[in-house]
């Protein structure tokens, strides 16, 4: 074998997968179509957001790179949804796109055990049986062998872009698609579907009049996404907000017939949550205006990103409607918006480890699996990399549960339910979101990082210091009691005299900052830790309630189904259920119960069969054995 592992693609999934493998001491080859396009933020120049910010921090806690890259390249930072409760808050940062990509490439180049090579993969290699993946074949006819392969091809597989009646085989505007691989995988029996996504125009900063827009600044403090870094000291650049109006909508409506979306040119399914402007105007004709965010793409570029107005209408139509927006009257388009349609592999063909059921040793991650978003791609890449490494080590895969990480929710949804539109993470997809706060991702997941071997000594030190620090803060709060003289300048504390500071903090009106004024010993701990402890205390009761829900959920998850389980021998369940169970090969009864179309009575039968003593597999029906 030439390598332990080959990673195809150097987007956000490929970066994480290749780094994880190389860091775990496996010789890894990263093959990309263009060494100049590593770590591109192909769409919006931002990382994080609701639930996505949580994912970035999960990636960090598990030993991934994304948080560190954005920490070094952010140009604005905000905690979103401060008004809506800590479980639904999340960090989001504007990124300097070019810097982000440059840092990503640099990180890969500096990584020991990691080899970078520019070529296009057109097929995989398999063993004689055709069930084990043993390497890849490239466009230029090179054959590389390896013990594992991680495929992260993003939107490039048979990618095709659309602008009005113009269409071209491309992965991103100006970059050729990866042609051949999708067909090869179809021929190898994979179910391959088409998805669609879109991106708005990039416009020239100096052609905009910001005085006609609302300015939206970031938070004063740039917090780091990474748990192993305190703050980010980076320039702050504001975004701006403008709105579409009736004129904009009229231009768009008048040109519906020119949209490849409505003409039937595009067959792939687009995301409902992130529609193009023509979609929005068509589906919500009563809306008077749509909000558009004008976001800088970087410090050293004039390009600005128009968030909320992606379009595949003809370029001149795009220019026409953009010019109806306040502040964009003289807008100069540098790159037009476009739609891109691409192949994705039905992710139900994967095990929860992200390994293919068809070809052992082949792992798939990122947009190839039908997801959308940098963060979703990154965390899959990391998990695929970790699990490829664990396979090489002969260890069981790391599968995160829905109750411990958004990553767990993401992968479970993908491999259990599949997806019919680009899958984006949403906070509401997570049943146990109170336990999935962004600020405690390390508490939840760093133990796995220590287990896999991706944790460095420094990370361990910082983590344990934080954990102990938070415990000390809580202990201090338990010891201190609210005394009468605390209330002289604080009405809020009056009802709490005699109570411990810990109990007092549960009062929604009392804050940790307020208590810190009365308990100076708290100042020795970082603000971050104090706020972490504050949320722990305030939400303790709710979290305890949620934990009871989780305990019920875990019971079903812990009922594992052996890989060689014989579904054909299950009597008394519907043929549809049987087929679905055989296809998905659920890891646990819990996962089986989430497969759509599998009836609860079928799950009951499965449970009973699994609970029977060893050696009694098979029929429940007496007739068969008569």
């Amino acid at each position: 074998m030439d390598f332990d592992a080959i990673v195809i693609g150097a987007g956000h999934a490929g970066i994480e997968a290749s780094l994880a493998l190389a860091r775990l001491d496996f010789s890894t080859l990263l093959i990309t179509q263009s060494l100049d396009a590593i770590g591109r933020l192909s769409c919006n120049p931002a990382v994080g957001g609701l639930s996505k910010g949580n994912i970035v921090r999960e990636v960090d806690a598990l030993g991934g790179e994304m948080a560190r890259l954005i920490d070094e390249s952010m140009i604005q930072f905000r905690i979103l949804n401060r008004s809506r409760g800590p479980a639904v808050q999340a960090p989001r940062a504007q990124a300097d796109k070019n810097l982000y990509a440059r840092l990503a490439k640099q990180t890969l180049e500096l990584q020991k055990n990691l080899h970078l090579f520019q070529d296009t993969v057109v097929d995989i290699l398999t063993d004689k049986s055709g069930t084990v993946c043993e390497g890849v074949v490239t466009e230029r006819g090179r054959r590389f062998t390896s013990r594992t392969v991680v495929m992260t091809t993003g939107t490039f597989m048979e990618g095709k872009i659309f602008i009005g009646d113009f269409s071209q085989s491309s992965g991103r505007l100006g970059e050729p698609a990866a042609v051949g691989l999708g067909t090869a995988l179809r021929n190898r029996g994979y179910t391959v579907g088409r998805l669609k996504t879109g991106t708005p125009a990039r416009v020239r900063k100096s052609s905009l009049d910001f005085s006609k827009m609302e300015e939206q600044g970031g938070d004063a403090t740039m917090q780091a996404f990474s748990f192993f870094k305190e703050t980010s000291d980076r320039p702050h650049i504001p975004c701006h907000i403008t709105y579409t109006n009736e004129k904009t909508h009229k231009v768009i409506r008048d040109n519906f017939h020119l949209s490849p979306l409505f003409s039937g040119e595009i067959v792939g399914t687009g995301p409902r949550y992130c529609p193009s402007i023509e979609d929005k105007v068509k589906r919500f004709p009563d809306r008077e205006r749509h909000q558009i965010f004008v976001e800088p793409e970087g410090l050293d570029t004039e390009e600005m990103y128009l968030n909320g107005i992606s379009s595949s209408l003809p370029e001149l139509v795009q220019e026409e409607f953009l010019r109806t927006l306040p502040g964009l009257e003289d807008v100069e388009i540098m790159r037009p918006g476009y739609a891109v349609e691409y192949d994705y592999l039905d992710p139900t063909q994967l095990l929860p480890s992200l390994e293919s059921k068809r070809h052992r040793g082949l792992f798939l991650a990122g947009q190839t699996n039908g997801t959308s978003g940098y963060e979703e791609a990154a965390t899959q890449g990391l998990m695929a990399g970790i699990n490829a490494a664990r396979k090489l080590q002969g260890k069981d895969p790391l599968v995160l549960s829905r109750a411990e990480a958004y990553t767990g929710v993401l992968i479970d949804d993908l491999v259990t339910l599949g997806t019919q539109e680009p899958y984006r993470m949403f906070t509401s997809r997570a049943e146990y979101r109170l336990s999935l706060r962004h600020d405690d991702a390390d508490i939840r997941l760093f133990p796995y990082c220590e287990e896999t071997g991706l944790a460095t000594e420094r990370m361990k030190e910082l983590f344990h210091a934080k954990k102990e620090g938070i415990d000390e803060i809580k202990e201090l709060l338990r010891q201190k009691r609210v005394s009468g003289n605390w209330t002289e300048d604080s009405e809020l504390l009056k009802p709490h005299v005699g109570k411990t500071a810990y109990m007092t903090l549960k009062d929604p009106a009392v804050t940790m900052d307020g208590l810190t004024e009365k308990i100076p010993e708290l100042e020795q701990f970082s603000l971050d830790w104090r706020h972490h402890a504050e949320l722990d205390v305030k939400y303790e009761g709710y979290v305890a309630r949620q934990e009871r829900q989780i305990a019920r959920f875990q019971k079903m998850e812990s009922l594992l189904i052996p890989e060689d389980f014989d579904y054909d021998s299950m009597d008394g369940i519907s043929i549809e259920s049987k087929e679905k169970l055989k296809m998905i090969q659920p890891r646990s009864v819990g996962q089986a119960s989430r497969i759509s179309g599998v009836r609860s009575s079928d799950i009951a039968v499965l449970t009973v069969l699994l609970n029977r003593p060893q050696g009694q597999k098979g029929s429940l029906n007496a007739e068969q054995t008569r």
Partner: protein, 450 residues
């Protein structure tokens, strides 16, 4: 989550008829090899007996050769049985010691005592019935009168399910209004108005359905009615009148100490256990005292007490006090109204146990007393399983928590969590969210043998 005692490979046996003296008792077995195993204890030839045909013979202890009973046995070959498995039903004489001997013999010969609901559990896992049906079967089995049975059937047709699905729809809409705040930041999407009106509606609806459990329970479990009054007031005649009016008498057995007569009757479909407390306050005899104690206990447990007054004789002081007591619990019956020449006091129901005059008015009064505030709810969705009631209460408590959280200004992540509880609870009723816990709870509430 312990399904060990639900292992469908075991052979199980249980008495399918009530544990009581009767003419005939039915013992049911299920599990592969049941026919062979019973045949070994049976003088007839079960192995060659056709499925679902009766076969006559003696049950014998094969070791001692003792004949235990003369019975009829019916073999069922899979999948043509209630459970879908091979089964045998034994029709034996209904003496308690006799039944016990046969069961003991079966348990010694490879059968295990069936767990509650285990026969139905097997029917369920063998695809003989689905979850909602499985639950309703228990009601049909244990229902003591026609109305209760039709209520259980009504559930099969899904009136309750329809109602619950409405709640679920409302809750889902609400959940979406929370989700939008969870999934989109505050600078992009404004928070929708809190759904206070919907919550209030849902609370009312849930409460109605929960209250209907009382009605369901009455039809399900029946009520106790006791007849009280002085000797010769006509209690026994009234007792007999109730029996005569009801053509569906189940049994008429004497109380063990002869303190009272009891009988199951059906009062417009409500199963009623009617007691005639003849013998109340007779003498100082210690045995009678014990009788009086039992009678008292009985009166305390009765939902309705019919106090019978003799319309032809002078009222006692006690009776006069009772008539003037506005807060009395007893229904007063003015018996012998056909021959009584006295003025009937206000609030007393005139009846003639001999002619049957006034009986239907009495019946109405009794029904009104049974249902008190809870509406008759005819044709409306009525729940009659404790599990459903508890889940609806969980949903209601979730709705109340959401309301409270909105009033207290708690963040939307908490609201969403409470609402998730509501959805889960509702989902568990209609069988959409299944967990082993539901299965355990549900099947353990099943009566043994069905």
């Amino acid at each position: 989550m312990n399904h060990d005692n639900y292992d469908p490979d075991d052979r199980i046996a249980a008495l399918a008829t009530p544990w009581a003296e009767s003419a005939i008792a039915v013992i049911r077995t299920s599990g592969e090899g049941s026919i062979g195993a019973v045949d070994a204890l049976f003088s007839g030839d079960l192995l060659s007996c056709e499925s679902k045909k009766m076969c006559y013979g003696m049950i014998r202890n094969p070791e001692s050769g003792d004949a235990l009973d003369e019975i009829l046995a019916v073999p069922f070959r899979a999948p043509g049985s209630y459970t879908g498995q091979e089964s045998v039903e034994l029709y034996c004489h209904g003496s308690l010691p006799g039944i016990q001997k046969i069961l003991t013999l079966l348990f010694n010969k490879g059968f295990r005592q069936a767990s509650p609901g285990e026969f139905t559990f097997r029917a369920f896992i063998n695809g003989k019935m689905d979850l909602t049906r499985a639950e309703a079967v228990q009601e049909i089995i244990s229902s003591k009168s026609g109305k209760a049975q039709s209520m259980a059937l009504n559930r099969l047709s899904g009136t309750v399910e329809k109602r619950i699905n409405q709640f679920k729809k409302t809750a889902t809409v609400m959940a979406a209004s929370f989700a939008i705040q969870l999934d989109y930041p505050d600078d992009e999407v404004e928070a929708p108005e809190p759904p206070l009106a919907e919550l209030a509606d849902m609370k009312t609806g849930l409460k109605q359905l929960i209250d209907s459990y009382q009605v369901g329970k009455i039809y399900q479990e029946g009520v106790v009615i006791a007849l009280a009054g002085r000797t010769n007031a006509g209690k026994s005649s009234l007792f007999n009148l109730f029996l005569k009016e009801d053509r569906s008498i189940v049994s008429d057995i004497h109380g063990t100490t002869r303190d009272y007569l009891e009988s199951w009757i059906s009062l417009s479909g409500i199963p009623v256990r009617l007691y005639d407390t003849a013998g109340l306050r007779h003498s100082d005899d210690p045995i009678e005292e014990e009788g009086i104690r039992r009678t008292r206990e009985l009166m305390e447990n009765a939902q309705v007490i019919l106090y019978v007054l003799d319309g032809t004789v002078e009222l006692s002081d006690e009776e006069r006090a009772l008539i003037s007591d506005e807060s009395r619990q007893e229904l007063l019956v003015w018996n012998k109204a056909d021959i009584s020449s006295r003025d009937i006091p206000h609030g007393v129901i005139p009846v003639s146990a001999v002619t049957g005059q006034g009986f239907s008015e009495l019946e109405e009064a009794v029904k009104k007393r049974i249902f008190k505030d809870s509406a008759g709810a005819a044709g409306d969705a009525v729940i009659d399983s404790l599990r459903q009631k508890e889940l609806l209460e969980r949903a209601l408590s979730g709705v109340e928590k959401v309301e409270e959280a909105i009033h207290n200004g708690l963040p939307v992540d908490i609201l969403a969590m409470d609402l998730y509880d509501v959805l889960q609870a509702l989902g568990e009723i209609t069988g959409e969210v299944s967990s082993s816990d539901i299965m355990d709870t549900m099947f353990s509430s099943f009566c043994v043998g069905k």
